[in-house]
Symmetry: C2
Subunit: 425 residues, 2 copies
């Protein structure tokens, strides 16, 4: 029998009524004759409430205990969802990450899945029950301690479970009708996509699109598992995230047009650092990047200016929350590296165009930069891949830049997109 893994985010189970609605959908799916396993996030804002409690109790909560605390959120939602499924006449059994064999590294708050041993879930399914698994959490086989996967963790849980159980598809339910050409909250004329490749989805996620988390897409690509992103508030078909071959097959069968550009994303969470007056000697740039990565900060873009008088400027972007730690580490290393100054600029945005068709269609970058110029957006940094163009501009210019690109590449829909509620993790 075929198996569907369904993942419901926090906004889909925000209250008792939503939970009952989701339970009906799960039971309806099972009654079409397939096996169903469910992954669920914490209810609505409950994770934020737990974080708030922790802050009230402790200025710097112990990481192990923070994971213990936060995992209470999914425990509540999964138990309630299992109760609601029972009421619809199907047996359901909830499982913690630990009970479900979701094995992770021991890094609290950002654990990585290293294995899945879903024996109890498989037994539940073979006994006709619907297993309901807590997303976002696991257990370290080394320490036996409870861990959490960090942002977007529940999506990764769902994909890892689907891969481990050999599911046919992993359905990720959210509060929009799939993956859009841009965030429908800021671009009302954004259109839902029929399908995107794993590679495009990875680029979109890295570019700040919040619909699916990077790690979850990487996991699906590695195991070639189809993801179906759709809304729990409607019955509409959503967006399929597939291999490039599978997308090509859809085009060949006439089920979708050949896609050139899949979307425009933006990210306001990065900051720009310029290290001024770096001695232009081999190894100096490397030592700067080493210092920054030593504090766990991820560097995104890098630009190095032309050297003048034996000195050069290195500009980079990194996660805004990492900027202070990176600067402190750089200032400490300043005597040994010998640069002149650091300039910190949090007021930037990254705007990104993604499309697998860029490879075969010349002129994309010309259209891209013409559109930005006509919109009066000044480009401060540029970075590209085979299927992506990213620029850094002023944060204030980002909405105008996104809208201009969305229009210039013919992505605007005729009508505004439907947005149902806030997103869960």
């Amino acid at each position: 029998m075929s198996l569907v893994v369904q993942k419901y985010g926090g906004s889909s189970v925000a209250d008792a009524e939503s939970i009952r609605r989701v339970a009906r959908r799960i039971v309806e799916t099972k009654r079409t004759g397939v096996d169903v396993a469910v992954v669920v996030s914490a209810m609505g804002d409950s994770t934020d409430e737990l974080l708030d409690l922790a802050t009230q109790v402790s200025p710097h909560p112990a990481e192990r205990e923070m994971d213990m605390l936060l995992t209470a959120g999914e425990r509540i939602s999964m138990a309630l969802l299992a109760m609601a499924i029972h009421d619809q006449g199907e047996e359901a059994r909830s499982y913690t990450g630990s009970q479900a064999g979701m094995l992770t590294t021991a890094s609290h708050g950002r654990a990585q899945i290293i294995g899945v041993t879903p024996g109890r879930l498989q037994r539940a399914i073979s006994e006709g029950a619907i297993p309901v698994l807590a997303g976002f959490q696991g257990v370290s086989p080394d320490t036996k301690d409870v861990t959490t996967l960090g942002r977007g963790g529940s999506d990764t849980t769902a994909v890892a479970l689907a891969a481990a159980m050999g599911a046919d598809v992993c359905e990720i339910y959210t509060d929009v009708d799939g993956v859009f050409t841009s965030d429908p909250r800021s671009v009302p004329l954004a259109r839902p996509l029929k399908a995107v490749t794993y590679e495009e989805m990875l680029e979109l996620a890295a570019a700040g699109a919040k619909v699916l988390h990077l790690r979850c897409v990487e996991y699906a690509r590695r195991t070639d598992l189809p993801i179906h992103v759709r809304s729990s508030f409607s019955d509409r078909e959503g967006t399929w995230v597939l291999s490039a071959d599978a997308v090509a097959a859809l085009v060949e069968r006439g089920e979708m047009e050949e896609p050139i550009i899949s979307g425009v994303a933006h990210d306001l969470t990065e900051a720009k650092l310029t290290v001024v007056g770096v001695p232009d000697r081999p190894g100096e740039a490397a030592s700067i990047f080493e210092v920054i990565s030593s504090v766990g900060a991820n560097i995104d873009m890098i630009v190095q200016n032309v050297s003048t008088a034996g000195r050069t400027d290195i500009t980079l972007t990194l996660g805004g929350s990492d900027a202070q730690a990176a600067m402190a580490a750089l200032r400490e290393a300043q005597p040994s590296i010998g640069f002149a100054d650091i300039v910190y600029d949090p007021g930037v945005a990254k705007v990104t165009l993604v499309g697998a068709g860029m490879r075969r269609h010349p002129g994309v970058s010309a259209t891209f930069f013409r559109a930005l110029a006509e919109a009066g957006v000044n480009v401060e940094m540029i970075s590209t891949s085979e299927i992506r163009i990213s620029v850094v501009c002023r944060a204030d210019d980002a909405p105008r830049a996104v809208a201009a690109l969305h229009t210039a590449f013919g992505l605007d829909a005729d009508t505004e997109a439907v947005v149902y509620a806030g997103t869960g993790r």
Copy 2:
């Protein structure tokens, strides 16, 4: 090194400030040079909030899922308490009942502890850390499912843990300064007791005194573990629950007066059922009790009237919440048993006097019934043990009956007792 197990109820950890206060007390205890293990209940009203959520989702929540849901309450409080202990400079590690090896039967909502394998907690202590264990919960080794112990479960968790780890004492922290001669919420002149025997405490608990749960006292008696009931809101010494020999030793050393009466308790939760016109044949009474116990109802007192014309009336009291099920079962069995009618009376109270000294002091029952008569309280049923006299009266008469007995046996204090907050489970 000596080991103290401290148990904090819901009212002691009701909010962030209370949690920090409790953490300070735990750390202070550890710094006197003893090892400490902690058992904690869910915060304040959080269990009721979870119950409310369950009711919103499902009219009859699945029992397995209810246990999964409710155990989220202690998960939150124990993680927060461990964080707060960390902040005070000591290492703390929280453990679920399952992680702590709290093995129970598989009966959801009313599981019994069948074994404790606290290896992880012992390791934590040997590494200098303070283990913080979730009260009220365990795991069934048969089903691997999470279970809860029912009302008063956290006290039982604490005593079971203390016994398994060979602790010197189990401190039960509550919102009053110990075990009182009567409930200080209804008898303001109630006095705290220096010590009571396990037997007296069992009688008091069975009589409706809410300070310690029956099962927890039974567990302590079986393992001869000293319990120290005290307030988390003051530093005052509370009440010791000890073996009769240990209490006698205290008296001998002049640390307390010889106790005659330890207290007066009352219970408004029982109901009275009268089965009218039962055929006065051997076995008829037995079949009535069998029918009632078949629905899981616990019968407390029983009185059988003198038989008239070959028929007799049997009156019994049982938990008010069981009365409807018991009546339904009796009505179904009516044709086979052949009684005439059932009279249901929920408006009763049980008032109980407990004292190990009753054995040696004649005249206690004379004083008892004279006091009730003078207070105008009509006695409907009587039941006694070696160290207890219980009567059933109108619920409205109970406060007057308790006050009269408290005065008649010289239990009134000179000043009113201090009550700090509401009790947790």
